[in-house]
């Protein structure tokens, strides 16, 4: 697109890049904000259905479409209070920290395989790390609002999130190992084809790993049944007890954003990313790699794929939330340290052994960590050589994405 | 599996097993059961195992070679034998050279040996094979070669020609000794298990009087006893199986130290410890001579090996035959007749050799050839024969020490201080037997003169010991002296050429002497006294012991129906007498040998039955003893029965030439079976072949003489001690001085104390005087100076050194007090210091090295 601007629009590069970058940012922002609106509405409806109620019905049409929009307006117009004795600066900054964290995580998230803010070759890692930052805002909020409920909530959340990063990381490592790359685009590309090419079905270990991942993801965005941070029955509303108005809504957007993020991550890591269950495009003979307009539309379709999967994930989280009871903090910790972590570790080893045992995986063309490892690198000191065979075509990182290089790649963000 | 491979394994096992039990008891003895009760079982099991091993070895031997004497076999047997020697020589397991494994080593060694003698590589064997027919019809079984297997387990080290190896030399004698020793040792172990049971708990030694009054209380040493016993058996087996003299010497000394342990078992008793020291020291005296003999042999011949050893030479696969002592002294070229070996001739003709070498200095090869030509002439001049004699005498010295011949016999009666089983073991099968065995083993290299000396020593020992035994009153001492005199018999027999006779007597004597000792042991165990004058009439109380003792006495006096049958002693003693008779007939100048032997027979009969009567017959003299007396427990009686059985049958020969004598004949040294072997220096001295003594006339007369003398002795004893025709007191009063002289055992101890101890004490007192008056004075003077010096030094120390040190300390202390202020304990200040230091360092560095700071 930047090329389009430069070559046809004849704009100077930096304006073109600036336009492109801001467009991407705008797009992502809208994903979060609009997503939040939609999800809030969906959550209310789902909760109502599960509790055998109707939920919002009036505002805007029969199903209360505009309910959350109305809420938004209400929140905007609400006076936001700050308890005296609170640490003003931190109290004000905390929501933005959270929101920025979950917003920045979207940078490395590909929607289709070059619909990506910045293609980092440590994409997964980056996403996880940045997502981990969100907790910091929560802690600040909990501390700054000078209320013991908030403090406790913050504490709990911090403890929970930081400890759940361990099994989460382990689960993420499994597909990374299979793909041989931490580049999300590469990982997604690896699963192109029919749905049984997805890493979910690569081998039994990955299958189990997926469920562990889901558990840890739910915990790390502290949704029910792990929402100890805003346990309304014990702490009034947890860390955002004292918040109201716009800041509060920022927390909410951050939460929904991260929900969507982990779901999308799950989709990319395990569920084939933007590749549909049936490779329609390749069946029709359209190569999504080609930079022409058809390819562009193919990518839009892939984007829709991913969105669907991620949304499905979010809906499942809601369903779980309104179904399961809340755990105690010690139970949460036990689940993490005594169950998730060891199981994830075992799964990791198992998947590794599986890959070594039958490098083809169940089906040909899978389980070849060929992403970034070149032959030249395999002759290490002492002739150590990994059981790695290279993909048939050149690794995607080298040849296929030249013209789709976003300018942000040079500026690092 | 071939015999030459099986026998070493079996006998080696039989040899090593007691060592295992020794080690086991040494480390875990006290923890074996309560007070180490099970140590006995361990040791007994070990010795019984070795008995089983050696018995099976003997049976295999008999299965292969039969029991009949080799000397009367036919000639193809002889060929086979001579080949067997070769093969056996080839099949040695020399662990030192890097052959992968024994068996294949043997198999690859055998074939070259065969085609080697086919190709005539060893001339002596070629000679042997070709000439055996005519040599046989020239004189009897001329080419008779003893069947023997020899080899090495392990080479300790190898320096030049000196090679110390752990090897084996196995022939019928070895096997017999193994069986006998292990059998008797097993009986004695079992017996001792019962006899030593006092040691199982706290022992009150009534013979030790403490200074504080009262008796010694000490913990029991049960396990320790059996530990020493096992080591003893191990060492004896080592001597028997040894394949070379060095190894024999090693185990010789081991036996000595074991006897020291065992005789000094009650080492709290002064007498016991003295006896132990005495035995050990006297043995050392003998071993000194033995060392001389070894040096003579090795220095001249350069080998300790008995048999030839065939080794594959490293450059070409050909077998290289290193001749052993036997083959050197009695070479096969010489029909195994004794000649002075080249080595000794050269050694004693070194002067001439030097002359020859000098005059042929330019062409050494001619010198060699001339040497070869001259050697035979030198030999005929008699050079080197003295060396051979010295070697023989030296080794015999060792035997004198070990088997208690005059003049080194005095240790043996004192050795009675040890526990009775020990006495039985020492006097029957192991220690004293070692000497005789060594003479028998080295028989081939003993010159006739040496044999004569041996004969005379044996004769003197025989008479002296017998006379002393006549008046001894301590039951064990009687047996001890009888042992000495029997050993004298053996030495006599060996000396007069009765090789088989001597060793035959050694074996039979082992049986009945151990029997006698065990019996006396059970008597002592019953009466708690050694004094025969307090015994008497015990036959009723302890019938088994009495019967066994009677059998023992009959066996030792050689009772039997002439020419029909008799106890074991009957055969062996007859053989000895016959041999000495034929010797005397050949050398009339040595009549005394036969007469002494005959007299010794009657003396033996006298004192043995004196002992039996005083102990078992008549009325109890001491009721206090008599009523305590009781029969010993079964565990002590059973060995008696076993031993008495063997004491009876040991001498019987089963089929024609079979039996012990037959087996011994197989081991007879080469060349001793045919006629006269003449002296080296004194040609008139002629030692007759043994089988001549089996001729009718000699044998018959010898038998008659033996029977009559024994009968006389028996009669005298009976009339004195049973029928009491003449009261013993009267006689002893008549021959007072003689009796005293005898009971003082010929004043040997006093003689030695006068000859040896007095001078030593004198010298030592002189030395102590010098020490006290000269040296001590000097030392005291030095000490005085040192003290003066020390005072001065002390002053310096106190005022100079300490001053400096204190000053330093003070300064340090003050500096420390100053420095304290920096140690504020404030982390932040520390950090500040660090940073300041860093900056200072950086600035300093930049100033010194003018680095690229500021562009």
């Amino acid at each position: 697109m930047a090329d389009f601007l430069i070559h046809t629009g004849g704009l100077p590069d930096w304006i073109a890049w600036a336009i492109t970058a801001s467009l991407a940012a705008f797009f992502i922002l809208n994903v979060i904000a609009g997503g939040a609106l939609a999800f809030i509405w969906a959550e209310r409806k789902i909760a109502a259905r599960i509790q055998d109620r109707l939920g919002p019905t009036r505002t805007g049409g029969k199903f209360g479409w505009l309910q959350s929009l109305a809420d938004g307006i209400k929140l905007l117009t609400k006076e936001d209070l700050m308890p005296d004795g609170a640490d003003g600066l931190l109290f004000r900054l905390a929501p933005y920290v959270s929101f920025c964290a979950s917003f920045a995580a979207f940078i490395a998230l590909p929607f289709a395989f070059d619909f990506v803010g910045q293609r980092l070759n440590v994409g997964v890692f980056f996403v996880i790390a940045v997502l981990g930052l969100e907790v910091f805002g929560v802690i600040l909020a909990g501390y700054a609002s000078a209320s013991k409920w908030s403090l406790f909530g913050a504490m709990r959340e911090a403890a929970q999130v930081v400890s759940y990063e361990v099994p989460l990381g382990m689960c993420v490592v499994v597909p990374v190992m299979l793909a041989g790359s931490m580049d999300l685009v590469t990982i997604g590309e690896k699963q192109a084809g029919w749905f049984f090419q997805w890493y979910l079905f690569h081998d039994p270990f990955t299958f189990i790993t997926f469920w562990i991942y889901v558990t840890c993801a739910v915990a790390s965005v502290n949704r029910a049944p792990f929402d100890l941070a805003e346990a309304e029955s014990e702490l009034v509303a947890g860390f955002h007890t004292e918040y109201s108005g716009l800041r509060w809504s920022f927390f909410f957007m951050a939460e929904y954003g991260s929900m969507f993020l982990v779901s999308a991550l799950a989709a990319i890591l395990f569920l084939g990313g933007w590749n549909g269950p049936v490779p329609v495009a390749s069946l029709l003979g359209l190569s999504d790699g080609s930079g022409d307009t058809t390819g562009y539309f193919v990518r839009l379709a892939g984007c829709a794929n991913l969105m669907t999967k991620a949304t499905l994930g979010v809906l499942i989280m809601m369903w779980v939330r309104w179904t399961l009871p809340r755990l105690r903090i010690d139970q949460v910790m036990t689940t993490c340290l005594k169950y998730c972590t060891p199981i994830a570790a075992v799964m990791f080893v198992g998947a590794m052994l599986w890959t070594l045992a039958l490098p083809g995986g169940f089906f040909r063309g899978l389980g070849r960590p060929a992403g970034e490892i070149r032959e030249g690198w395999l002759l290490g000191p002492g002739g150590m050589s990994l059981q790695v065979q290279k993909n048939g075509e050149a690794p995607p990182s080298s040849s296929r994405f030249e013209q789709s290089e976003s300018p942000v790649s040079q500026v690092g963000l | 599996m071939e015999l030459e491979q099986t026998l070493p394994i079996l006998l080696g096992l039989a040899w090593i097993t007691p060592l295992f039990s020794f080690v086991a008891i040494l480390f875990f003895g006290p923890r074996m059961g309560t007070h180490g009760k099970n140590a006995a079982s361990v040791a007994t099991a070990a010795i019984v195992c070795s008995f089983v091993f050696s018995l099976s070895a003997l049976l295999m031997w008999i299965g292969v070679h039969g029991m009949s004497g080799g000397s009367h076999g036919s000639h193809h047997v002889l060929l086979k034998d001579s080949q067997t020697v070769l093969v056996a020589g080839a099949a040695q397991w020399n662990l030192a050279d890097h052959q992968p494994s024994g068996s294949e080593d043997a198999s690859e060694a055998v074939h070259p040996a065969h085609d080697a003698d086919a190709a005539g590589v060893q001339p002596e064997d070629a000679h042997n094979l070709h000439h055996s027919p005519d040599s046989s019809d020239s004189h009897g079984a001329g080419a008779h070669v003893p069947i023997s297997y020899s080899g090495d387990w392990y080479t300790l080290f190898k320096v030049g020609s000196l090679e110390l190896t752990i090897g084996w030399y196995i022939d019928a004698l070895t096997l017999l000794m193994f069986v006998v020793v292990s059998l008797i040792a097993s009986c004695i172990h079992i017996y001792a298990t019962g006899y030593m049971h006092d040691e199982l708990h706290e022992v009150i030694d009534h013979e030790v009087h403490l200074v504080a009054g009262g008796h010694l209380h000490r913990p029991g040493r049960f396990s320790r006893f059996f530990q020493s016993l096992s080591l003893f058996c191990f060492s004896m087996f080592g001597i028997v199986i040894a394949g070379n003299l060095a190894m024999i010497f090693i185990f010789w000394e081991l036996v000595g130290i074991c006897s020291w342990f065992l005789i000094g078992f009650y080492y709290e008793r002064k007498t016991a410890s003295n006896a132990a020291n005495k035995a050990f020291i006297l043995n050392r005296v003998g071993d000194f001579g033995m060392l001389i003999g070894l040096m003579a042999l090795w220095g001249a011949l350069g080998t300790f090996r008995f048999a030839d050893s065939v080794t594959m030479s490293l450059d070409d696969g050909k077998p290289v035959v290193a001749k052993g002592l036997f083959n050197l002294v009695r070479p096969a070229e010489n029909d195994h007749q004794l000649i002075v070996p080249d080595g000794m001739v050269k050694a004693s003709a070194s002067g001439e050799i030097a002359g020859i070498m000098i005059e042929h200095a330019t062409r050494p090869r001619d010198g060699e050839s001339e040497l070869k030509s001259r050697i035979s002439q030198w030999r005929s001049d008699g050079l080197g024969s003295w060396l051979l004699i010295v070697a023989g005498l030296g080794i015999f010295c060792g035997c004198v020490g070990k088997s208690a011949q005059v003049p080194l016999h005095v240790w043996l009666p004192d050795a009675m201080e040890g526990p009775t089983p020990v006495s039985a073991l020492v006097h029957s099968a192991t220690m004293v037997a070692a000497g005789v065995y060594l003479v028998g083993r080295l028989y081939p290299i003993l010159a006739p003169e040496v044999l004569l000396v041996i004969a005379y020593i044996g004769m003197i020992t025989l008479v002296i010991a017998a006379t002393i035994a006549m008046v001894a009153t301590d039951i064990k001492r009687v047996l001890a002296y009888s042992t000495i005199s029997q050993l004298g018999y053996m030495m006599l027999a060996l000396g007069v050429g009765g090789w088989v006779a001597g060793l035959f007597h050694l074996i039979t004597h082992a049986f009945f002497k151990s029997l006698l000792f065990l019996c006396s042991g059970s008597v002592i165990h019953a009466c708690h006294t050694n004094d025969m004058r307090r015994m008497g009439g015990l036959a009723k109380v302890m019938p088994w012991t009495a019967g066994a003792m009677l059998i023992g006495c009959l066996a030792i006096i050689g009772a039997g129906i002439p020419f029909v049958i008799g106890f074991s002693g009957y055969y062996s003693k007859d053989a000895i007498l016959a041999q000495s008779l034929s010797f005397v007939q050949n050398n009339p100048s040595h009549q005394i040998l036969f007469l002494a032997a005959a007299a010794g027979a009657s003396l033996t009969a006298f004192y043995m039955f004196r002992l039996w009567y005083m102990t078992f017959a008549g009325e109890p003299r001491d009721h206090h003893v008599a009523e305590h007396a009781h029969e010993s427990p079964l565990i002590m009686v059973a060995p008696l029965v076993v031993l008495s059985f063997f004491a009876v049958v040991a001498g019987w020969s089963f089929s024609g030439e079979g039996g012990l004598t037959g087996l011994l004949e197989q081991a007879r040294p080469a060349g001793t079976s045919e006629g006269a072997s003449h002296g080296l220096l004194q040609v008139s001295l002629m030692i007759p072949a043994e089988h001549e003594s089996h001729q009718g006339a000699v044998h018959r007369s010898a038998t008659l003489v033996a029977f009559t003398t024994a009968a006389l002795g028996l009669l005298a004893a009976t009339s004195l001690y049973l029928w009491k025709f003449v009261s013993v007191e009267l006689l002893s009063r008549m021959f007072g001085p003689l009796v005293i002289f005898l009971s003082k055992s010929w004043y040997f101890d006093e003689l030695y104390s006068f000859l040896c101890m007095k001078p030593v004490l004198l010298v030592s007192s002189l030395a102590s005087g010098t020490d006290r008056h000269a040296i001590d004075r000097f030392v005291d003077g030095i000490a005085w100076c040192a003290r003066r010096l020390a005072v001065f030094d002390d002053w310096i120390d106190r005022f100079v050194v300490d001053g400096v040190v204190n000053a330093t300390a003070h300064a340090t202390w003050n500096i420390g007090l100053k420095m304290r202020d920096f140690q504020t304990g404030k982390v932040r200040q520390y950090v500040m210091f660090i940073v300041i230091g860093t900056i200072a360092l950086f600035v300093l560095a930049s100033m010194l090295w003018n680095s690229t700071i500021a562009g």
Binding site: - | M819, F822, Q823, K826, V827, R828, M832
Partner: protein, 117 residues
Amino acid sequence: MNFFNILAEPVGVSHYLLVGAVLFTAGVVCMVIKRNALGVLMGIELVLNGANINFIAFGSPVLRGESTVSIGLDGQAIALFVILLAAAEAAVALAITLNFYNNHATVDVDRAEDLKG
């Protein structure tokens, strides 16, 4: 060359080193003037980060990829280890601090002068 030109030049290693220097100094000062033990701890973290920046800069493929004196990948690896060890150090130091707090009821490092000479 002129000192201030540094600001006019394209970004090179020196710029990173400058940032590292600032962080380092800030960390040291933090260690020096903070009385709160946790403040001191944060100072340590700052110092470590300053060092890390230098490592990264020296090993950076972008900045000095073809330069012959680049320490290449080692820089990143060492930085990695520094980060890990910093985490470990923080854990232990925090534990110590809390222990100190439990025993002395304060986190004032000036009060921790039991080792005063």
